[in-house]
């Protein structure tokens, strides 16, 4: 689907003819079906794939994020018809956003990988994670409560 070629304009006050409307509706419904198909596909894969979650396979993560970006692009370019706006407006909106978001993603990925390594956990992180692990394993051991109390005691003194 080419922009600017055969699609009704969204310039200020541009009124469309019946024929323009028909053309636009056809494209919009097509976009809707693509988005619906992607969402159903995501749900089926999401509820069936084994070993999901953040610990799931890299390929699955990339697939989900890729499909999300496709859906986001469809919304911005067709539903918000940014694809049919003047080139300058498109760049003024997309370039600053992309610069900031990509930079943030980059910096958080670097920091996240660093602080996610067990060797880089703080003392509090370690206590917290051990506690959570013990709780979720369903152990009734006194260690967790003990640990919490010891921590609380340290706070007081």
């Amino acid at each position: 689907m080419e922009f600017h070629d055969d699609y009704p304009s969204y310039e200020t006050m541009a009124n469309h003819s019946e024929e323009d409307g028909k053309k636009a509706r056809k494209v919009l419904w097509k976009v809707f079906w693509v988005m619906l198909f992607i969402t159903i596909f995501e749900l089926i894969v999401g509820s069936m794939a084994p070993g999901r979650g953040w610990s799931g396979t890299m390929g699955l993560k990339v697939l989900f994020i890729g499909l999300t970006v496709v859906k986001a692009g469809a919304i911005v370019l067709w539903f918000m018809h940014l694809g049919h706006e003047v080139k300058f407006l498109k760049y003024v909106i997309l370039i600053p956003y992309m610069v900031f978001i990509l930079y943030t993603v980059f910096i958080v990925l670097v920091e996240g990988v660093y602080s996610g390594k067990p060797g880089n956990f703080t003392r509090v992180d370690k206590i917290f994670i051990d506690q959570q692990k013990e709780l979720s394993s369903g152990h009734h051991g006194a260690a967790a409560a003990h640990g919490a109390e010891a921590e609380h005691g340290a706070e007081h003194h």
Partner: protein, 241 residues
């Protein structure tokens, strides 16, 4: 008329016309959405950071959101799938309202705006239902360290549901981010429904018919699609990954 007229890049900035070929209001709506998108981006990225850090003890969404109204069985992700469908559908009715507005088709705008509002209200209601089940929790609950005011210490006990401090599903941060991000998004949807309602009433009154264009419908349309756009990301990062 129907096609974008090529503008001379030099003359475009000489004044007397919009170089972007949009009205001031629409451009400002876009700029607002960029800043709002950065806010949501920041929230989701920080969510990713915390989740990555506590990957070992982070609960899985399909074990948390397993309920469906009036159905006893466990149906992981089914309800959020329905919510996503409702929001995408209301996005389509919104874009059809905008399209009808460009043809000065008052009846079409009225109908599609109405269905958009219905979809938005359904989504907010579903969100409330989801929150309710998240807060009330499961029948079994889980063992948690709960702060006891009377003795001033943590007591291990069976805990049901979720608050900002403790939840039965896993680490407290999970509930924090769930409440904050879906709450922030839900409030956007709620405001969107109210704004849509105001515009809908204006359409009924014939305000835009008199004005000669339905640009206001297009502006709220941009906001409404943005809300859908954010949900696409929340859906992926909260429920799928």
């Amino acid at each position: 008329m129907a096609h974008t007229t090529e503008i001379d890049a030099k003359a475009a900035w000489d004044g007397g016309q919009s170089p972007f070929r949009v009205s001031y209001g629409k451009m400002m709506m876009w700029f607002f959405l960029v800043s709002d998108a950065l806010t949501f981006g920041g929230l989701l990225i920080s969510y990713g950071f915390i989740r990555h850090k506590y990957a070992d003890v982070w609960p899985k969404a399909e074990n948390v959101f397993t309920h469906f109204p009036f159905v006893e069985q466990h149906l992981p992700l089914a309800y959020v799938g329905l919510m996503t469908f409702i929001l995408i559908m209301s996005s389509v009715t919104m874009v059809l309202a905008v399209e009808a507005g460009h043809r000065m088709d008052r009846k079409g705008v009225t109908m599609w705006m109405f269905w958009t509002i219905v979809g938005g209200a359904l989504f907010v209601g579903s969100q409330a239902w989801e929150w309710y089940h998240f807060i009330v929790g499961t029948h079994d609950g889980a063992l948690r360290n709960v702060w006891d005011m009377a003795t001033g210490s943590y007591v291990q006990q069976t805990y049901h549901g979720a608050t900002m401090v403790v939840n039965e599903y896993g680490v407290p941060q999970f509930a924090n981010y769930f409440f904050f991000i879906t709450g922030f998004h839900g409030f956007h949807v709620f405001s969107g429904v109210i704004i849509n309602l105001v515009i809908f009433l204006n359409v009924l009154k014939g305000t835009y018919e008199k004005r000669g264009h339905y640009e206001m419908v297009e502006k709220v349309g941009l906001y409404w699609h943005f809300v859908d756009l954010v949900w696409v990301f929340v859906f992926t990062f909260f429920y799928l990954l």
